[in-house]
Each structure stands twice: as C-alpha cells, then as structure tokens.
C-alpha cells in the first residue's frame, strides 16, 4: 500500500467538495492511503502572491513544515495550492529563503493530476476497471497552473499536455483534440469581474462544444467550478445553450472502476452529467 500526506485545500472542503470525495474514493480503490495534514491552513492563493510576496511564501511554508513532520510524500489535488507549494519549495531550495517555520524543502510534493494520470497508476486502473467508458467523447481541459510555469511543474509539453488524455483513453473513452487545453478560465475574476470572466469561459465552452465532446474533463478545482457552476450565466450572455458537463478526471476513474459513490459525487454538479451518462449506458 502506498501512503501519502494529503493537503485538500480550502476549495476541496467547499465549492469543490466532489473533487475531494472523488480523490479520496479513487485513492481507496487504488490502495492508496491518504493522511490529511493536521491543522492545515490556507496556502494564500492568488491574493497573497498579489499583495505580499513574503506572506505568499510563509502561508505555504506553514503547511509544508507540518508535512515534513512525517517522511511521507505530499499529494495535492488543487492546482493553486500545488503551485504555491512548489513556488515556496523553489524559493527555499534555490534561493535559500528563510521562513518562520521548520521547513527545509525536503518533502516531495506531488500534484494529484500528475500522479493519478501517470503510467504506473494507469496500469493499475486498467486492471481494476469494471466498466470501460466506451462511446464517451471527452476534451481534456488542463488550465494554467497544472502545467505552468514548467520551472515549477516539470511538465515538458506545457503548450500541449497529454497526460490527462492518456488516462481518458485508458478508461476506454475517446480524447478529442482541441486547441484550448491550457487556456485561462479567468480564475478569481469569477468573483471580481464577471463580465471579463464570461468572455474567457464562454470561449472555452463554445470551443469544447464545437468538437462534439460529451463532456469536458478537468483536473483543477477552479477550472471545474468556473466552467460548471457558471455555465448557465455564460449561456445567457452567449444567447445559446451549451449544456456540457464538466467532470473531474477522478470522477471518470470512479465511474470506470465502479466506485459506488460516483453517483453521489456527480449529484453536486450544476450541469448534471447523469442523463448523458445514462444515455450512453455508462450509468444505471
């Protein structure tokens, strides 16, 4: 059994609850034990690095210091938390930055998308699969921070990443090609400038629908929240219906591996994916 320290992050305890549930569910199915960090706190997100760089290093450092109390690697599903953690690791390791916590830059930080879409896990998933997602057409949407900046993420093909596509194909679905894999969804502009936000997400959703995909597959809580929960508002602006479900890759894994809680995760979506999945015979 593989064991990780686990940092869900604030979103996964709130607006991205189904991401947390599906990561945990899939991990159990894959014989991975997750130990949530004790008393973890906010990574600072966009606001800290926008206003104060030292605070933007200290907030992740506190969590990383907690993670270093054990010798387990750290698994992080949220792209923003992951990026902040890697940025802090870089500052401490490369620039010898001093922080207020006993963090030495030792703990290995893994992004859940990289780990769960990696070859070793895909091999296990293939063996445990009970219901291949035959007939499902998907476009993979990576967003920004899961791939950029490559100095921190280590992703070599950051303009055209394929690791989530590989997982989707291994699950038996079809991964369609499109040009908007790493376009920006607007992130926190959803709260501050809805007008600009709708233009960015409207373009991504329109292009996703044009490919003929049944769903968008996302691996960042911000991306999923923005494309799914605001889709009806975006449709009003565009003046036409899109109605494309936005699923987490972990939810597709749960579906293909027959995890009994998959239906519960999918119920939390604003754009209900269940009718589409039922029509394709992928859910009862």
């Amino acid at each position: 059994m593989k064991e990780f320290s686990y940092f869900p992050g604030c979103s996964l305890h709130g607006t991205s609850k189904e991401f947390d549930e599906s990561v945990r569910g899939v991990a159990t199915w894959l014989d991975i034990k997750l130990h949530e960090l004790d008393d973890w706190t906010c990574c600072g997100a966009t606001s800290a690095h926008s206003l104060n760089e030292q605070l933007a290093i200290e907030m992740p450092a506190r969590n990383l210091a907690i993670a270093e109390r054990s010798d387990r690697d750290l698994l992080v599903p949220c792209a923003n938390c992951y990026s902040r953690f890697k940025g802090t690791e870089y500052e401490v390791r490369e620039h010898g930055r001093k922080v207020s916590f006993p963090y030495e830059g030792k703990v290995a930080i893994h992004f859940a998308m990289d780990y769960l879409c990696g070859k070793p896990v895909i091999e296990v998933v293939k063996r445990k699969m009970v219901r291949p997602l035959a007939g499902l057409k998907a476009v993979c949407y990576y967003g920004c921070l899961p791939v950029r900046p490559p100095r921190l993420t280590g992703i070599r093909n950051y303009e055209n990443p394929t690791h989530m596509d590989e997982l989707v194909k291994a699950l038996g679905a079809e991964a369609l090609q499109w040009s908007y894999k790493t376009d920006c969804c607007g992130a926190s502009l959803m709260f501050t400038r809805l007008d600009i936000f709708k233009r960015l997400t409207g373009k991504i959703l329109t292009e996703a629908a044009k490919t003929g995909a049944d769903c968008v597959v996302a691996g960042c809580s911000m991306c999923q929240m923005n494309l799914d929960t605001r889709q009806e508002d975006i449709e009003k602006d565009l003046g036409r219906k899109i109605g494309i479900p936005v699923l987490y890759y972990t939810e597709l894994m749960g579906l293909a591996m027959g995890h009994p809680d998959t239906g519960k995760w999918l119920k939390r979506h604003f754009i209900d994916p269940v009718p589409m999945l039922k029509a394709k015979g992928l859910m009862q």
Partner: protein, 185 residues
C-alpha cells in the same frame, strides 16, 4: 531609446526597484509583443504587457502602478513561458501589484484590489478560506457578481460549507502581523 538603456528621468527607479525585489530584468525586453499576443486578458487591459514594460523603462511610475493591467493579469503564466528574454512577466505583475498596494497607488481596478485585501483580511481570522464570507465582499463591491444566488445553488448541492474552520490559531494570524504590508522580497 535603446532597450538596454535607461531613460534620463527622475522616476526610473521603478525599473531598479523591480530588479531588486523580483530579480527580473525589464531592460531586456525588446518589444517582440509575444506576451501581449498570447495574453488571454489583452482585450480588456488599458496598457498591454509589452507597452507596460516600455513605460517601466521610461520610468512612468504612476502610469504603470495605476494601470488596470496589473490587476487584470490572472497569473496564467502564458507570457512567462513564451518570453524570448526569459523575463518572468507574471512575477513582475505580482511585484507591481505588491508595490502598488504598499505605496497606496490609485487602483486601476478597485474590485480586484479590494477582493485580494478582503480575502486576506478574512482568511487571517478563519485560517481557511471561508467561501460564504465572499458575500460580504459582494456587498462591499456593489453586488454585481450575483454571488448570493450562485452561493445558494452551491449550498444546495453541498458545495458550500456554512461555518468557518478557524484553523491555525495565533501562529497563523501572526504571519500577517510580521509581514504586515511589507514588500515583495
């Protein structure tokens, strides 16, 4: 003006200030405009990223710090990965926001700068982001985002916790005291 030189202007210190705080060399920019061409927010910025860099070279401090560009930047890092001179443009934007914040420059987008200040003030006490609290930001900013209705829908789907976590204690809150409104590096 030669892109490597510095304009004879009393305000040129912004260029060196950025270099000292972020280590980024704006003087290396030769105006290829790749940053602006690939920027997803370019349609709404009052000064494009490459233009902003020219203004920094010229020392137009107020113009740069009060532009909406620095606040609209969503930190997507597309520009940073494409710059042929390896300028980490997203990092420079962070630095410019921090300078604008601590020097009290006129904000080029009041909603966004307010959101970041609000987010940190709230999180300081809750330890973890308390999403229902964003409703207060909505009221402060004039309530145009439709957050309330959206939040209710999220709540009904179990995607919105009601109570804040209150984690981290004094150790976490002290972080905000020690760094205060201080600089970028």
């Amino acid at each position: 003006m030669d892109a490597r030189g510095q304009a004879p202007n009393n305000n040129t210190s912004l260029l060196s200030e950025i270099y000292q705080e972020s280590g980024e060399k704006i003087q290396n920019c030769y105006q290829c405009q790749k940053c602006s061409a690939g920027c997803p927010l370019n349609f709404t910025m009052d000064i494009l990223p490459n233009q902003l860099f020219r203004h920094i070279q010229y020392g137009h401090r107020d113009k740069v710090l009060s532009s909406n560009t620095i606040w609209l930047c969503a930190s997507c890092h597309t520009c940073s990965t494409r710059c042929p001179n390896q300028i980490d443009i997203a990092k420079v934007m962070d630095n410019l926001r921090a300078i604008a914040h601590r020097t009290g420059a006129k904000s080029g987008d009041k909603n966004i700068s307010l959101f970041h200040r609000f987010f940190l003030s709230l999180t300081k006490y809750t330890g973890r982001t308390w999403e229902p609290g964003f409703a207060l930001y909505e009221l402060m900013s004039g309530g145009l985002g439709g957050f309330m209705g959206w939040g209710l829908k999220a709540f009904l789907r179990g995607r919105m916790g009601i109570f804040p976590g209150f984690k981290g204690g004094a150790e976490f809150r002290n972080l905000f005291k020690e760094v205060g409104k201080g600089g970028a590096r």
